[in-house]
Chain length 144, copies 2
Amino acid sequence: MYSISLALLLFLLKWLELRLIVFDHFFEIYIGCIAVLFTSLGIWLALKLSKPIIKTVVVEKEIFVNRNENFVPDQSKISELELSKRELEILNLLAQGHSNQEIAAAIFVSLSTVKTHNQNLFEKLQVNRRIQAVEKAKKLNLIP
Amino acid sequence: MYSISLALLLFLLKWLELRLIVFDHFFEIYIGCIAVLFTSLGIWLALKLSKPIIKTVVVEKEIFVNRNENFVPDQSKISELELSKRELEILNLLAQGHSNQEIAAAIFVSLSTVKTHNQNLFEKLQVNRRIQAVEKAKKLNLIP
DNA sequence: GCAAAAAATAGCCGAAAGTATGAGTGAAAA
DNA sequence: TTTTCACTCATACTTTCGGCTATTTTTTGC
């Protein structure tokens, strides 16, 4: 491309020279062409070879700690509160939003039994509503 | 002494030779100077006038966030579910384990009103128990 | 300004939850 | 062997919830 354009330019100049139109100013035109050519070369060089400015943007990606994964119940707290297996089982079912009736059906006991367990649970956790029990249990890491 | 004079003579001869070359090829040197000058001009122009090439590198920095601190409710979810201010208020009180009666007293309305709000809340959250509503609301980042 | 929509309010009733009390059973510990 | 204790169940009662319906107030769109 470069050589072709140069050739064309030369051809043009030759032609003009032959025509004797620019014969008197040939030198000035020649110099001008050289100037333009090398200015272009300079620009091209600068654009090609200049190093890009590397701008580093740090994007903060929030990762919410998921309670569910790798949950381990706080055994020391559990034994401290003297929660039995059954109570813990019911606590978990309670946390899942089941009704007493559903819990009873799930662990094959009567409704009364579930209520009794609830009562003991509430007393041990020092609350008086299932929802508070669940809240407290989560806070104490007894359940996920 | 002799060698020094010899060296000087040689140096002189070389210098004369160089001068002669310069004289003979004055035109070429002139063109060369023009070329160098305008190449520099081109480079200068390019660097001055062109926009700097900025390469942006995005680095993701993982930040583990505790849910409880700096909690911001998910407004988009809230508007998506069409939860009113009152409903949201009650949802928060519900999550704290308060009874309907306590909530009614807290926001100075009748027990019936609280119940109605609850009901609308349950419907919007597609649950049918307060405890499930609280669970779901936490999951959806509606409440801390 | 007015009609429609949304929000807030309320009462009723059956179901569920919670309270209190008592008691039976079986396994493990003293 | 007796005692202890977790687990179970039952009854009776009160409180709280959830579902339904309806009215009033506020907001919104035309």
